[in-house]
C-alpha cells in the first residue's frame, strides 16, 4: 500500500532522514517508534507530501507522492502532531469544511460528518467551538477529520499525546477497530502503545531505521532467554534440583530467600512457556506457590538497547524514553518489573 524507497531528507545542515526504505501492506498497523527528534514526524510528512524528500521515492497505492500528489492526498487521512483545528469554528462546521475540501459529495456531507464524529466519539461536542475543547476532544476532532471521506490510509502523528488514561485507551481501541480495512501508520515515543496496537514496529533513531519487525519478533530476536520468577516455600535444594531437571530449563537460581520463601529465577529456552509445568511441579512437590511471573524483555528494554548500543549514542535518548512510559497503561507494572529483572540478571 505504501512504499518508501531510499528516502532522505536534509535540512540546511542536518540530515533528518537518511536513506530509509520500508513498505506497508494494506491493513497493517505500522508503528514508528523513536525518541523525540528521531525523524518520525518528518517521515510522516514526507508520505503525506507535505514535506518533499531531498531524495528517494514514495508511493501510496501505486501513486507517486511527487507526480500525483492529489491522488495520494485523496487516499490519506492525516492527523498532524497537533490537531489542525480552526479555533473559531464549531466542530461540526469545521468537519463540514474539511469534508468539502476532501471532495465529499455535497449531499453526503451531513451523513459523513455525523459518521466520523460518531466513530471518533465526538458527537457530544458537535456544536461546541473548537477553541474551547479540551485537549482530548481536540484530538478526537483531529481524528474525525482524518477519517473524512474514508481514506484507505491513515497517518497519525502521536495520536495519544496529551490524553488522559481513559482517552488513551479509547484512542487505541479506535485504532484497533480501524485496522484491517485501513492501513495505519502511527508514531509514538510511548512503548506500550506500539506493543498494544501495532502489527509491525519500525524503530527510528536519528533518521535511521535501526529495527523493523513485529513487536513479538523484536522481543524474541533481542532476547537470549525467557525468564520466569517464582516465589516458593519449601526445601530450597530440592526445589532447585527438580526445576533443573525439567525439560527446557536452562538454569534455576536462587535470587534470595526470606521466611522460608525462595525467589527462584528459572531460565528457559526461547519461546518455551514453562509456567504451567512449573506450577504442576510445585504442586506435586507439595510446596507453596506464592508468586509466578514471566519476565519478558519489554520493547522498552530493546529500544534502549538499540538506541544506545552504538558508540555515538547519547544516553539522553535512552533516558528520555525511560522516563516517558505513561503511568497509565495497565501493564506499566510488569513493564517496570521486567526491566528490573532483566537488569538484575545481566
Amino acid at each position: 500500500m505504501i512504499s518508501v524507497q531510499n528516502l532522505t531528507k536534509r535540512y540546511d545542515t542536518t540530515t533528518a532522514i537518511a536513506d530509509v526504505s520500508f513498505s506497508v501492506e494494506a491493513g497493517e498497523v505500522l508503528g514508528f517508534l523513536g525518541p523525540n527528534g528521531a525523524g518520525k514526524t518528518t517521515m510522516m510528512r514526507a508520505i503525506t507530501g507535505f514535506l518533499p524528500p531531498s531524495a528517494g521515492r514514495i508511493t501510496v497505492d501505486g501513486f507517486d507522492v511527487f507526480e500525483d500528489p492529489l491522488e495520494v492526498r485523496s487516499r490519506i487521512g492525516y492527523l498532524p502532531e497537533s490537531p489542525p483545528l480552526y479555533p473559531e469554528m464549531t466542530v461540526e462546521g469545521y468537519l463540514r469544511f474539511v469534508a468539502k475540501i476532501k471532495g465529499v459529495a455535497r449531499i453526503d456531507i451531513a451523513d459523513e460528518v455525523t459518521r466520523v464524529m460518531d466513530t471518533a466519539r465526538a458527537l457530544d461536542v458537535a456544536h461546541r467551538i473548537n477553541g474551547r475543547l479540551s485537549k482530548g476532544y481536540k484530538q478526537r476532532v483531529g481524528l474525525a477529520q482524518a477519517l473524512l471521506n474514508d481514506p484507505p490510509v491513515l497517518i497519525l502523528d502521536e495520536p495519544t499525546v496529551g490524553l488522559d488514561p481513559n482517552q488513551i485507551h479509547e484512542v487505541r481501541e479506535l485504532i484497533k477497530e480501524w485496522s484491517g480495512d485501513h492501513t495505519v501508520i502511527l508514531s509514538t515515543h510511548i512503548l506500550p502503545e506500539v506493543e498494544q496496537t501495532c502489527s509491525r514496529v519500525v524503530i527510528i533513531d536519528r533518521g535511521r531505521i535501526i529495527a523493523m519487525d513485529t513487536p513479538e519478533n523484536l522481543v524474541h530476536q533481542l532476547k537470549g532467554a525467557e525468564l520466569t520468577l517464582v516465589e516458593v516455600a519449601g526445601p530450597l535444594d530440592d526445589i532447585l534440583e527438580r526445576f533443573r531437571a525439567m525439560d527446557g530449563v536452562v538454569s534455576a537460581r536462587d535470587m534470595g530467600s526470606s521466611d522460608a520463601r525462595h525467589r527462584i529465577q528459572v531460565e528457559t529456552d526461547l519461546r518455551v512457556d514453562i509456567r504451567p509445568r512449573l506450577a504442576r511441579t510445585i504442586v506435586e512437590g507439595g510446596w507453596g506457590l506464592f508468586e509466578m511471573q514471566s519476565s519478558r524483555m519489554s520493547l522498552e528494554d530493546i529500544f534502549i538497547k538499540l538506541t544506545t548500543s552504538d558508540a555515538e549514542a547519547s544516553p539522553v535518548h535512552a533516558e528520555d524514553v525511560a522516563v516517558a512510559p505513561e503511568p497509565t497503561s495497565g501493564n506499566t507494572e510488569d513493564f517496570g518489573d521486567s526491566e528490573n529483572d532483566t537488569e538484575a540478571d545481566a
Binding site: 507530501g49 507535505f50 514535506l51 492529489l70 485523496s74 498532524p80 497537533s82 474539511v98
Partner: protein, 260 residues
C-alpha cells in the same frame, strides 16, 4: 471551483467570527462618514462663498460642480483610509494558518495550492467589496440632494476596486512570509506606504528615474479614475500588480511544502 468556494466561505465566516471584521468595518464606516461630512461642509461653504462673490462682483465666475467635487474628494480620501485598512484584511490569512498548524491540513488535503490561494484571495476581495459597498450610504446623499454625474463616480469606484484588489494581493503574499499576523500587517502596511510614497521620493531624482518611480506609485494611477477617465494603462498597472502578488503568493505557499 468547489474547493475554492469552500475556502472562500470558510474565510468569510472566519472574518465575521473574529472581532477583526467588525472592528475594520466599524472604523471604516465611521471614518468614511466623518470624512464625507467634512468634505461636504467644506465644498458647500466654498460654493456659497463662490456664489456670493460672483453675485457681489457680478462677474460670471466658473460655477462649482458641488456633488462632483464632493465625490471626487471623498473617493480620494477613501483611498488613503484604505491604505491603513487593507493590510488588516490580509494579514492573518496565511500567517494564522501557519501559526495554528492548519496549513498542514490545507496542504495535505486533495486540493491544489492554487485553489488555496484563490480561495483566500477571493474571500479578502469579497470582504473589501463589502467595505466599498458601505460607502454608498454617504454617496447616496449626493443623489438624494443633488444630481451628480454617474460617470466619474462609477469610474472612481472601479479605480478603488482595482487599487484594492492589487494591494490585497500584495498583502496576501506578505502574510505567507511570517507566522505572526502583526508582523504581516506592519510589513504590508510598510510596503503599501512605500509604493504610495515612491513619487515623493521621485521629486529629487533624474527625469528617467522620476518617470519610472512615478509609474510605480499606486496612488498616481488612481487620480484619473476618480476624475472620470478610465485608461487602459492604469487598469493594466493594477492588474499586473495583482497578478504579481498572487503569483508570489502561490510560489510562497508552494515553497512551504519545500521548507516545511
Amino acid at each position: 471551483m468547489k474547493n475554492i468556494l469552500a475556502i472562500v466561505e470558510r474565510e468569510l465566516r472566519a472574518y465575521f467570527a473574529s472581532p477583526v471584521a467588525y472592528v475594520v468595518l466599524t472604523i471604516f464606516v465611521l471614518l468614511s462618514g466623518v470624512f464625507f461630512q467634512t468634505i461636504l461642509r467644506q465644498v458647500v461653504q466654498m460654493a456659497t462663498v463662490n456664489a456670493l462673490q460672483s453675485q457681489q462682483f457680478g462677474a460670471a465666475s466658473q460655477p462649482i460642480d458641488v456633488p462632483g467635487l464632493i465625490s471626487q474628494s471623498f473617493l480620494g480620501t477613501l483611498s488613503v483610509v484604505l491604505l491603513f485598512m487593507l493590510p488588516m484584511i490580509t494579514m492573518g490569512l496565511f500567517s494564522e494558518e501557519k501559526k495554528r498548524g492548519t496549513i498542514e491540513l490545507l496542504l495535505t488535503a486533495p486540493i491544489t495550492g492554487f485553489q488555496v490561494v484563490m480561495g483566500k484571495y477571493l474571500a479578502a476581495v469579497s470582504f473589501y467589496a463589502i467595505m466599498l459597498a458601505t460607502t454608498w450610504v454617504p454617496t447616496s446623499v449626493l443623489f438624494l440632494y443633488g444630481d451628480p454625474a454617474w460617470g466619474p463616480i462609477l469610474s472612481g469606484y472601479l479605480g478603488l476596486l482595482l487599487y484594492g484588489v492589487a494591494l490585497l494581493a500584495v498583502g496576501l503574499f506578505i502574510s505567507t512570509l511570517t507566522e505572526n499576523q502583526i508582523v504581516a500587517g506592519v510589513l504590508s502596511f510598510g510596503t503599501i506606504l512605500m509604493l504610495w510614497m515612491v513619487d515623493v521620493v521621485a521629486q529629487s531624482a533624474t527625469a528617467t528615474t522620476r518617470a519610472v518611480l512615478a509609474y510605480l506609485s499606486i496612488l498616481g494611477h488612481l487620480d484619473e479614475f476618480i476624475r472620470g477617465v478610465v485608461t487602459t494603462s492604469h487598469v493594466i498597472f493594477y492588474l499586473s500588480l495583482m497578478t504579481l502578488g498572487l503569483f508570489l503568493t502561490y510560489r510562497s505557499v508552494d515553497s512551504m511544502r519545500w521548507r516545511g
